[in-house]
Amino acid sequence: MAGIPIPTGRATANRRASGLVQGLRSGDTFAHLFTLLCAASILLVTAALVHQLYINSALSRHKFGFHFLTGRTWDPVNGDFGALPFIYGTVVTSALALLIAVPMGVGAAIFLSELAPPRVSNAMTFVIELLAAVPSVIYGLLGIFIMVPFLRQYGEPFLKHTLGFLPLFQGPAYGVGMLAAGLVLAVMVVPFIISVSRDVLMAVPVEQREAALALGATKWESTWQVVVPFARIGIMASIFLSLARALGETMAVTMVIGGTPAISASLFAPGYSIAAVIADQFAEATGDLYIQTLIELGLVLFALTIVINGLARVFIISTTKKGSGH
């Protein structure tokens, strides 16, 4: 990586002494300070975001305290709010999405990095990156009009018939519900898993593969027992990144999850996610407490995604450091 050499110690001191006057005259100092301000705006915006979410949820925080996170009622008429159904819906749909998307995404990434000829691999990656650019409301549109009717007519009856002994697959088949939301999310996060995992897998030194092959391993054995473990931290990062995305994904989930603040074991049952309830009810919320409760939900969602994203970034930083050390 061609970085800008950073002057240290004496060099800095020398430059500062002679450079300050000259810098002021030529505009350098002004340019430096002005761009610094713009870069710092990232920190300012983030701080302002946290501050706004915090002060504008004060009513709700004071009234419910930490019981907010464990409360199960959602009664806007009487002003009694609990976030548990939404947290449950968010976690279940995201987990379901990862359950489907991780094998799919890692599998495709293995194909693209290990087997496909470069030309094919690049073309397919190009398409997959376009898939990541499709707006989420479009996924929601297809979800409502294609997936939900399909699930209602074929998918859910089939699951009930074959796996109906599990509590997960019981109850009436509405089409909309946790299952639909999880499936849409899976489709949406696969491209992210693929593009990050592919990059990580391709960064594994070719010697690693050759060593395994030279010991008589098949191509799959070398891939699965050597290349994938070597890239595991990067793959973990890609999974965390897509988890954060799934947790915060709003439109597609709102459109297919069914909009019911209830906790039910069945994946067929309609539910609600944090992002979906904000999207659904914010514009029509009346009364300060109601709005501030929704803002507190936003704060919860923010905290959740920041933690997951932060972990993912730490993973990524540690892999790039390891990579450049070789």
Binding site: I4, A48, A108, V134, I138, V187, T250, M255, A283, T305
Partner: protein
């Protein structure tokens, strides 16, 4: 060859076929989405759709001209707000920044980029809608503009980092000041990458719906100026899709097709420009 080796070869073929299948399904998904939108949206797309206001419920026809203009206005104002800040921030990270502060900014930019867009909507709501007491184009643009900053910062920085140090040193050696070197040598040399990053940035927020729901809100009519609620394409797709009317569903498909086409065309052009450059 023993059974064990035959088994190992079998596993090899089966597993790689499965990975190929995963890749094919994912790639197929894009063509499925495109095809389905073309099929359903194409039939509802017409000149009237692009140039007329929505009609009242139950009256056939009408279009989404106000939403198209609304989206354009939202993006314009968001770009005016987000791109310069992001661009200059990127210049700082690539040209001026020290190590510690820059790492913090970079890390925070990545985190900010990962904040759910609906939370950005709440942010703009508390800053603009709450004090002004009404929804507006301005509020929607603020939400989108804030979302644009981190991507603009990161893409500008990366583009500038590809410019060889020698070019800068040449300019400095000729006596140019630092900002002059940046403005006349480094930035022009990196312009392709910078513009690509900005186009991708705009394309990304163009499809955002969640931050507009309670900032720009929606509007059945034209929205003059910047201080009133406005319709936008993504919000129209959403409200029309969840409505109970068949005619509105057809219009949702058409609006979805317009939106997807715009986003994909911007993406394809931007990405081909970059790959064309790296192939040289």
């Amino acid at each position: 060859m023993g059974w064990r080796n035959i088994w190992r070869k079998l596993v090899n073929y089966v597993m790689f076929s499965l990975t190929g299948l995963c890749a094919l399904i994912t790639v197929g998904a894009l063509f499925f989405i495109l095809g389905y939108l073309l099929w359903h949206g194409g039939s509802a797309l017409s000149w009237t759709f692009l140039t007329h206001l929505p009609t009242p419920v139950g009256e056939a026809g009408g279009g989404m001209a106000n939403a198209i203009v609304g989206s354009a206005k939202l993006l314009l104002l968001a770009s005016i707000f987000g791109i310069p800040i992001g661009f200059l921030g990127g210049v700082y990270l690539a040209e001026f920044g020290g190590q510690a502060f820059s790492s913090v900014v970079r890390y925070t930019a990545d985190l900010l980029n990962g904040v759910p867009s609906i939370v950005m909507g709440i942010f703009a709501f508390t800053i603009v809608v709450l004090p002004m007491k009404h929804f507006s184009t301005l509020a929607g643009s603020l939400a989108l503009g804030v979302m644009m900053i981190p991507i603009a910062v990161r893409s500008t920085e990366e583009a500038l980092r590809t410019v060889p140090m020698m070019l800068r040193e040449g300019a400095l050696a000729l006596g140019a000041s630092k900002w002059k070197t940046i403005a006349t040598v480094a930035v022009p040399a990196a312009r392709k990458g910078i513009i690509t990053g900005i186009v991708l940035d705009i394309a990304r927020v163009a499809g955002e719906t969640a931050p507009l729901l309670f900032t720009a809100f929606s509007n059945r009519f034209w929205s003059p100026g910047w201080n009133q609620p406005t319709a936008s394409l993504p919000v129209m797709v959403y409200t029309y899709a969840i409505s109970p009317y068949d005619d509105w569903h057809r219009q949702a498909w058409a609006a979805g097709l317009v939106l997807l086409t715009l986003v994909l065309v911007a993406n394809v052009i931007a990405r081909l420009t970059v790959s064309g450059r790296s192939a040289q």
